[in-house]
Every structure is written in structure tokens, then in C-alpha cells.
């Protein structure tokens, strides 16, 4: 599930926020988008994840130019290909943890029993089965984050995008969540993209992409081959 961004630009009105992004994310990789707040990481995640559309340029996922997909075809594509873990949880406060996990199943028209079974399966895998009936306000930050991850995994996506998954967590919970994401990436073979400025994430990444003022540079994190691409060229280290 290779993701390729070519000459990608994004503007909000007249204000550009992403400049000429060229990036390849290999299948099955754990890619970290590293950058400070306001660097454009979340916007880049949103464009890759289909929540927003690029102003120009292309996003190709597994050979499919997603910009050409419209309406139902686009919805179906993203539903089955991409899972999103939002910054700040975004769990619906009036739905139970179980219902939140199964949200994607609701929009896919899955029967209630089927959804509940799948939610329970994921909750058990992520160690939050005991809080399925509780509301988000009644669970801890770590449990809420795992619920978000379970929600992202609901349709067995091939790509999982996690935006600042450790932001509101203490160090122990943060490590648990990152390890969980790494495990998912390894076991499921999913392509994992994590936007974060947490140094802990870098340790687990196979590729680090530096995002600065809307531009990207790739910093290889694999010990056997480190490639640093700066903004004005390629330098191999």
C-alpha cells in the first residue's frame, strides 16, 4: 500500500500551508511526520487521509489517484483503506466506548450485532474490553486513546494515520500507545503514519519525515540506511 504524494500543494483561501510536497511512504512502513505545532503535519495527515483535498498535485494510494475519486467511490475507498486516529481523541461523548469504536461500522451499514462483536474483538486486543459500556468521560486518557485506535482499526484498514496520539498522555501511557501502534503495524502489515513531535515515536519509526513550515524532508530512521534530504537537495549520510 504505497502512498505517493507528487507536487502537492494546499491552501486555505489565499494562504498556502503545504508547499510542493513530494513524498513516498512505502508499504508496511512506520513513518513519523515530525514537526512543531503549526508546521503542517496535521494538514498533511488530513490530505493523505481524505478528510481534506489538495489544492493541486496528486495523492496516489496503491496506484489509485484518489483525487479522481468522487462521491460514493471515494467514501468506500477511504472507508476500507484508511483508519484515522485523531488528535484529542474526538470520541463522541454521548456514545459508549463500544459505540464509538463501531462508528465506522454504523456508516458502513453493518448490523448492530456484527458491529458489537467486532468492537469487542478489538477492545479485547487493545485491553479495554471492560470499559465498552462506559462513556468517554468515565475512562482514562490511555483507555480513550486505545478506543480511538480500535475505532481506526475497525474496518481492517491498510493504512492507519495517527495524529499526535501521545499528546495528552503521561509517559507510561504514551509508550504503551506507541508500542501498540508498532505492534499493529507489524502484525497487520499496515502502513502506519504518525504525526508527532514526541522523540519516543522516532525510536519506532522506519522513516522520519521532517515537516517544517509546510515543506518536508525525509530523514531515514533505519539504522542500515540513513538518508537525509534537506530542502535544497539530497545528502546521503
Amino acid at each position: 500500500m504505497t502512498i505517493k504524494l507528487e507536487n502537492l500543494n494546499k491552501k486555505y483561501g489565499k494562504k498556502p500551508v503545504l508547499f510542493d510536497i513530494n513524498l513516498e511512504i512505502p508499504t508496511g512502513s512506520f513513518t513519523m511526520l515530525r514537526g512543531v505545532s503549526g508546521s503542517g503535519k496535521s494538514t498533511l495527515m488530513s490530505v493523505i487521509g481524505g478528510i481534506e483535498t489538495a489544492t493541486s498535485g496528486t495523492v496516489t494510494i496503491d496506484g489509485q489517484d484518489v483525487g479522481k475519486l468522487k462521491g460514493k467511490a471515494r467514501t468506500e475507498f477511504y472507508r476500507h483503506k484508511v483508519g484515522f486516529v485523531f488528535q484529542g481523541f474526538y470520541l463522541q461523548p454521548q456514545l459508549s466506548i463500544g459505540e464509538n469504536i463501531a462508528l465506522m461500522g454504523m456508516f458502513a451499514g453493518m448490523a448492530k450485532k456484527e458491529r458489537e462483536a467486532r468492537a469487542k474483538e478489538l477492545a479485547e486486543k487493545l485491553g479495554i474490553a471492560e470499559v465498552l459500556m462506559q462513556k468517554p468521560a468515565e475512562v482514562s486518557g490511555g483507555q480513550a486513546e486505545r478506543a480511538c485506535i480500535a475505532r481506526a482499526m475497525f474496518m481492517n484498514p491498510e493504512i492507519i494515520l495517527a495524529d499526535e496520539p501521545t499528546n495528552n498522555l503521561d509517559p507510561e501511557n504514551a509508550r504503551n500507545v506507541i508500542e501498540m501502534l508498532k505492534r499493529i503495524q507489524v502484525e497487520m502489515g499496515a502502513t502506519m503514519i504518525v504525526a508527532s513531535h514526541d522523540a519516543l515515536v522516532e525510536k519506532y519509526a522506519t522513516q522520519v519525515v521532517e515537516v517544517r513550515e509546510g515543506r518536508v524532508g525525509v530523514v531515514g530512521a533505519d539504522e542500515s540506511e540513513k538518508v537525509v534530504r534537506t530542502y535544497d537537495g539530497v545528502t546521503t549520510v
Binding site: 486555505y12 496535521s42 488530513s46 487521509g49 481524505g50 478528510i51 481534506e52 483535498t53 462521491g71 460514493k72 467514501t75 468506500e76 477511504y78 472507508r79 484515522f84 485523531f86 474526538y90 463522541q92 461523548p93 454521548q94 456514545l95 459505540e99 462508528l103 465506522m104 454504523m106 456508516f107 458502513a108 451499514g109 448492530k112 475505532r151 474496518m155
Partner: protein
């Protein structure tokens, strides 16, 4: 298969729980405003029936009216009138000739052969005695304002209904003996003599007035003046008298504008007036109040749509993250519209229920506080032997109209705020929130 309706309902209900405060405000505002209208409508309908019943109690439930077509271009007045009466189940029972006898109006009723007619009762108002008339004499008096003994909102209605004057004068039924013709003839002669006696004085005044204007009275003018006085004749108008077995048929007869005459395309082409009671006035006044109520309903609808739209727009902006989440979870635009539309429908269903409750409370309070007093005043006004039955709750199609108006707010608010669900707007709000 996409989002199921049961799941959409679940998600929409979650919105109501999430925005409890705002939901309560919207429901309460709409319920109070429309509840007032609905309550007044219930009251008006109940009062209408109560007043009708009281107004026809002395004529055994039947309503007698005077009615006519004048200057019809579409056929003979008589034929056109009979057609209309037949259409609305009325029956002509006689004729009413009104003689304007120099400050006094006498109505002479000729009853058609074989028709029933009330003759011996005293009717609305207060009557006068005419000892010299041996024909059946019916007392009809002027209008008066009916007010409840203690201050009541119902006086707003009753003041309009009972503030109109019922034609004053005497009504007599011609019994065919010739006495009433004799009476009329005698009165005319009296008036002629009086006019002749006053002629000199009146002529002097007229001459002086004309002289001021530079005009002169000729001998011919003077002769004509005396001749006019000697040969004075009263103005006589003629109406048909019709009876309706129930006031609903009469109401349709009075209010339905289905012919050119009834539409009054010719001014005053169609006339219908009270006889023995003020039933026609009740019909017209209640209809006017109902029109005012409908006007308020429309105004309230506009206000409700504005309030709802602004509140809903604010809610969507606050809910940008949720909309973005739903989109990322595979929700289509149609799914999102459905969830928020159902939220609005649920909200306004709650408003409808609350509105009905408020309306019942209004009726209950008015009933407890006024029914007894109203019964006493109606008995006094209509000179009834017993207290009439008072019912301050009535039901009509306007009830459904009000509910329809409330529910209409939901789709209108959604239509007016659809732009806010666009990906561009949502992204902008998310950016602002960050």
C-alpha cells in the same frame, strides 16, 4: 447499504444529549410561542361553539337571518339567492320589509305559507311596546358589550363579538289581518301632516340658504316643496328571511366567497344580517380573530425559523469536529444531513408535545377562572331560562396547521444552513478552533 435509520436516530439523539442546554432553550422558546397560539385557538373554537349555542337557544337551535343579493349581474337577485340558500342548506321562510318612518324603523315580516316561525319570544336586547299593533310583536334591541364580571382575557374576544349593534327597531309579523298595513298607513299620514305643518318653517330656512348662495326659489320650487311634504313616502328595503338548521351551515353561507356576489365584487351585493340574535356577528368576529391568529402564526413561524437557523448554525460550527469525524468514518454528505435533520425533527417533536401541554394549561386556567362567570353573563344577555353550557376547548384544523408550522422549522433551518456542512467550511472552523 449505508447508514441505517436506527443508527442515524441514535447519533442524532446523542446531539440532543450533548447540547442539552441549547436544545432546551430552542424547545422552550418554540413551545411557549406556539403554545400560546394553540391555546388561544382552542379557546376561540370552544368559545365560538359556546356563543353559537347560546345565541340560538331561544330559537330551538335554528338560526334566522335576513339576507339578500342586490344588483346581481348574473341573473335575477331572487334566483341567485335561492341557489345560494339551497347550496348551504338554508331555507327561505319569509320576507322582511323595513320601513324608515322618520326616525323610527319598523320591520314587517311576511311569513311564507306553511313555514314555521318564532313569534312570541323576547330576543336579544330590550324591546319596546307598541300597544296599537296587534300583530305578533318581536322585541329586538341594540347591541351591548358583554363583559365578564371579573377581569378576563375572554373580554378581548367578547368585546369584539358583542360590541356590534344589532339593528334597533320593532319587528312585527304580519298576520294577514290588515292591521299592520293600517298601522303603517296611519304612521305615514301622521308624518306627512307633520311635514306639511313644518313646511313653512323649513321652506323659509331653505330660501335663506339658497339666497346666500345667490340662488332664488321659484314658484315652481315652492309648489314642489309642499307637494313633496304632502306625498312623503318612507324608504322601504326588502330582505329575505332564511332559516338554517345549524350554525355551521350558516357559517359557510356567510363566509364562503364562491360567487361573484359573495365576493362583493359589486359593493354590498351580498348581504346577510342578524335576526333575533347576533349569530352573524359571532361568525364574522370570530373569523376575524381567527385571521389575526393565523397572521401571528405566520409571524411566529418566521421568528422560529430565524431563531432556529441561527442556533443551528452556531451548533454546526461548534460541531465541526464531529462532522469531520463522521466524514473520516465514511459518512456521506447525505448521512450527515440525515443525522442533523433527525436531530432537528426530534427537537421539534419535543417542542410540539410541549406546545400542546402549554396550550392545555392555558385552556385549563381560563376554564377554571371564567366558565362560571361566562355562563351567567350569557344567560343574562340572551335572556335564557337556564345557564348555558360553557365549553372553552375546541378543536379544528388549525391545530394541525400549528403543528405543521412547528415541524416546518426543521427542514427550513437545515436548508438555510446547508453551506456550513461543506468540507471547506468545516476545515475552516477546525483551523480556527486550533
Amino acid at each position: 447499504m449505508g447508514l441505517r435509520l436506527s443508527d442515524a436516530l441514535r447519533l442524532s439523539w446523542a446531539n440532543i444529549a450533548e447540547y442539552k442546554g441549547r436544545s432546551v432553550v430552542v424547545v422552550a422558546t418554540v413551545a411557549i410561542l406556539f403554545g400560546l397560539v394553540m391555546g388561544v385557538n382552542f379557546l376561540l373554537r370552544g368559545l365560538e361553539v359556546t356563543l353559537f349555542d347560546a345565541s340560538v337557544a331561544k330559537t330551538g337551535g335554528k338560526v334566522y337571518v335576513e339576507t339578500s343579493f342586490r344588483k346581481s349581474r348574473y341573473g335575477s337577485n331572487e334566483e341567485r339567492l335561492n341557489e345560494r340558500l339551497e347550496k348551504y342548506h338554508g331555507e327561505k321562510v319569509g320576507t322582511l320589509k323595513k320601513y324608515a318612518l322618520d326616525g323610527e324603523t319598523v320591520g314587517v315580516i311576511e311569513v311564507e305559507l306553511g313555514k314555521e316561525f318564532p313569534t312570541e319570544e323576547e330576543y336579544v336586547g330590550w324591546g319596546t311596546e307598541k300597544q296599537e299593533m296587534n300583530a305578533a310583536h318581536l322585541s329586538v334591541g341594540g347591541g351591548t358589550t358583554l363583559e365578564l364580571k371579573r377581569a378576563s382575557v375572554l373580554n378581548l374576544v367578547l368585546g369584539g363579538v358583542y360590541g356590534n349593534a344589532i339593528e334597533e327597531g320593532d319587528l312585527v309579523v304580519d298576520d294577514g289581518s290588515g292591521e299592520i298595513e293600517e298601522y303603517i298607513k296611519t304612521r305615514i299620514e301622521e308624518i306627512q301632516r307633520k311635514k306639511v305643518a313644518n313646511a313653512d318653517e323649513m321652506l323659509a330656512m331653505d330660501v335663506a340658504e339658497e339666497a346666500e348662495g345667490g340662488q332664488e326659489f321659484t314658484e315652481e320650487d315652492i309648489a314642489y316643496f309642499y307637494e313633496e311634504a304632502e306625498n312623503w313616502e318612507p324608504e322601504v328595503s326588502e330582505e329575505s328571511i332564511a332559516v338554517f338548521e345549524n350554525y355551521w351551515d350558516l357559517k359557510d353561507y356567510v363566509l364562503t366567497r364562491d360567487t361573484p356576489e359573495a365576493k362583493n365584487l359589486e359593493p354590498q351585493a351580498f348581504g346577510v344580517g342578524n335576526l333575533f340574535s347576533n349569530t352573524v356577528d359571532i361568525i364574522n368576529e370570530v373569523e376575524m380573530m381567527r385571521t389575526v391568529l393565523k397572521f401571528f402564526e405566520v409571524v411566529l413561524l418566521v421568528v422560529a425559523v430565524i431563531v432556529a437557523t441561527l442556533t443551528f448554525a452556531h451548533l454546526i460550527d461548534n460541531d465541526a469536529a464531529t462532522v469531520a469525524l463522521y466524514r473520516s468514518m465514511g459518512a456521506s454528505t447525505g448521512n450527515i444531513y440525515l443525522i442533523y435533520f433527525l436531530y432537528l425533527v426530534e427537537l421539534y417533536l419535543l417542542a410540539v408535545l410541549s406546545c400542546i401541554m402549554i396550550a392545555f394549561i392555558i385552556v385549563g386556567v381560563m376554564w377554571l377562572g371564567n366558565a362560571g362567570a361566562l355562563a351567567e353573563r350569557l344567560k343574562e344577555f340572551y335572556m335564557l331560562k337556564e345557564l348555558p353550557k360553557v365549553n372553552l376547548f375546541g378543536f379544528n384544523n388549525m391545530f394541525f396547521g400549528i403543528i405543521g408550522a412547528i415541524m416546518l422549522v426543521a427542514p427550513l433551518s437545515l436548508l438555510l444552513t446547508m453551506r456550513r456542512f461543506s468540507a471547506k467550511h468545516i476545515a475552516k472552523k477546525l483551523k480556527e478552533d486550533q
